[in-house]
């Protein structure tokens, strides 16, 4: 069913070359080291956005990814700072914890549709922020700071990952880590969408009644998908906390949740790689409009509205025909 064409293979190769080789070369040639931080942020936000895109894929508008990013950031920070555990173990743990929380929340709210589900998820970010303020383990408003950099990993005495604290260029190390995670995320997303789980999601997105008439356990699949989506949120959040070396209740806010959703709209809900492009454009778009001062928000909003109005299938619909899926 799924045939990867030569052209797609070429595109993927070109993309990998750009992010892993071309970008570092350009940055060292131009001396714009600050770009590493920007691009690392884009990669991590794109991971969280991938999760939001996946909930769109089952016909749900998810404005709660900030909540899971925040949960992931805290879980990782607590495990590293208070538990003395390696960051590389805390990272998957953060994703899994976020997924488990999503399963419980999902069982309660995934039955809701449209605006109702969207509103509940919108409130979720606020709830997690308030919880972080209240709990002793999260340190309230002070948050958790001075998180140590990821330590080295060795297996049977062979070093696999270097100790970030001893590295001369941690920016580059974080950039590579974020890019690898992003590539893995989108590869997994692509596989998922093109495998049976993805086909079942499509069936229920298009017609829930017909899907249940052929025996699809809709409630179950929705929860699985929401858990995977939140796993991505947790991973993105944990990585962010590690780079910033701190987590506060305000690290991810409602505005971030909204942005994750906008990234998906902008890139295109019909394309697996839509949220990645959306994140890049939205992040840089905002920065480019910085010169406009107090009109920044206004111009930015107008452009967004125009894009959604005139390109309802997202930016990627410009390049690919209707229904095409890279």
């Amino acid at each position: 069913m799924e045939n990867i064409t030569k052209r797609q293979l070429f595109n993927v190769g070109l993309f990998l070359f750009s992010i892993f080789i071309a970008v570092p070369l350009i940055i060292s040639a131009t001396g714009r080291w600050d770009f590493y931080f920007t691009l690392t942020s884009v990669a991590l936000l794109a991971i969280a956005s991938a999760g939001v895109w996946l909930t769109f894929y089952i016909g749900r508008i998810n404005i709660g990814q900030g909540a899971f990013a925040l949960i992931g950031a805290y879980v990782s920070a607590i495990l590293v700072v208070k538990g003395g555990i390696s960051f590389w173990i805390s990272l998957p743990a953060a994703g899994i914890f976020a997924a488990i929380v999503a399963i419980f929340i999902g069982m309660l709210v995934l039955r809701l549709r449209g605006v109702y589900f969207a509103m509940i998820t919108l409130v979720l970010t606020q709830v997690v922020t308030l919880t972080a303020l209240a709990l002793p383990i999260t340190n309230g408003a002070k948050g958790i700071s001075s998180i140590p950099l990821p330590s080295g990993v060795s297996l049977f005495g062979i070093p696999i990952l270097p100790d970030f604290a001893t590295m001369a260029n941690t920016k580059l190390a974080f950039y590579y880590t974020a890019c690898i995670l992003m590539v893995l995320t989108y590869a997994a997303l692509y596989r998922l969408v093109n495998s049976r789980l993805g086909h079942l999601c499509r069936s229920m997105q298009q017609n829930e009644e017909l899907a249940s008439s052929i025996g699809v356990n809709i409630a179950h699949i929705r929860i699985v998908i929401f858990a995977i989506s939140s796993f991505f949120g947790g991973i993105g959040g944990a990585m962010f906390g590690s780079i910033a070396q701190s987590v506060y209740p305000s690290s991810f806010q409602v505005a971030d949740s909204v942005n994750f959703m906008l990234n998906c709209f902008l890139g295109g809900l019909g394309y697996v790689f839509g949220p990645m492009l959306g994140t890049l454009v939205l992040y840089f778009g905002w920065d480019l409009l910085f010169e406009l001062g107090k009109y920044q928000m206004l111009v930015y909003s107008i452009i967004l509205i125009a894009v959604i109005r005139f390109l309802p299938n997202g930016l990627l619909s410009l390049q690919f025909g209707k229904g095409a899926r890279k």
Partner: protein, 260 residues
């Protein structure tokens, strides 16, 4: 031989309206049973209760002695009791072939994770689904439209697609809600033959709701007649054609489609 499906004293009320009142009947294995009656008689409601799309107010439906009513639709479908819909109900951005492939998912031998990693079992499944989809579409005479997008199909083909999706699940009992609606005479007679061969060759028990009386009289082993939610008659086509209550129900309503 005990009946395959037993409907026992089933009642459905929507507020003050009784859509089905104390309906009981049995369906034997390999039978084709039609449910007829004027508009609003409660035919679709009965099918929705059998397939657990709506709960009964009272009474129950048994399949091989096991209760299937007041359950979840996907669980009943997994037991092999599959319905089609009166309204156009399709996966609109899938092709005909894709729809028929996705409907075979219950027969998957590989796990969801196996599909993700591309295990050997998953690859075998994918190949088998594709092959069966082609066979089924050939059998239904739909091979030419197999790569059409469902949303582009004309009305008559949409019905056929609904039946194809239902059949792809490999059902034991197929509930067809107005399968011939929107078809002309020739298309209807072709579908009548097809439904018959589904029963004969695949051993599927068929229940159908239909307004097209000539088709109903040709296809049915037995007929059940509903009027205002009540069962007013049950019998072979010739018994039903000569039943006074049935004639009265049809003549008494503005709906005189019963061509007897």
């Amino acid at each position: 031989m005990s009946p395959l499906l037993q409907v026992k004293n089933v009642t459905k009320r929507y507020g003050g309206l009784t859509a089905n009142n104390n309906i009981s009947f049995d369906v034997a294995e390999n039978e084709i049973l039609s449910v007829i009656g004027p508009n609003g008689a409660g035919k679709s409601t009965l099918f929705k209760m059998i397939s657990s799309f709506v709960p009964t107010t009272s009474g129950e439906v048994l399949y091989r002695g096991e209760r299937i009513s007041n359950n979840k639709p996907h669980i009943v479908a997994r037991k092999g009791i599959v319905r089609t819909f009166q309204e156009t109900t399709i996966f609109k951005s899938m092709t005909v072939r894709e729809s028929v492939i996705v409907a075979q998912h219950l027969r998957a031998k590989a796990s969801l994770a196996g599909y993700f990693w591309g295990s050997r079992a998953a690859k075998a499944d994918v190949a088998a689904f594709g092959q069966y989809a082609d066979e089924l579409l050939e059998f239904l005479g739909m091979s030419e439209i197999s790569s059409e997008l469902a949303s582009n199909l004309p009305q008559g083909n949409l019905r056929a697609l609904g039946i194809a999706i239902g059949l792809a699940t490999d059902p034991k009992v197929l509930l067809l809600d107005e399968p011939f609606a929107g078809m002309n005479h020739d298309e209807t007679m072709r579908m009548v033959d097809l439904v018959r061969s589904v029963r004969d060759e695949r051993g599927v028990t068929v229940l159908l709701v239909e307004h097209d009386m000539p088709a109903v009289m040709t296809i049915s082993d037995r007929i059940l007649v509903l009027n205002f939610g009540e069962k007013i008659a049950e019998g072979t086509p010739s018994e039903i054609q000569n039943n006074d209550k049935v004639i009265e129900a049809y003549l008494g309503s503005s709906d005189d489609e019963i061509g007897m």
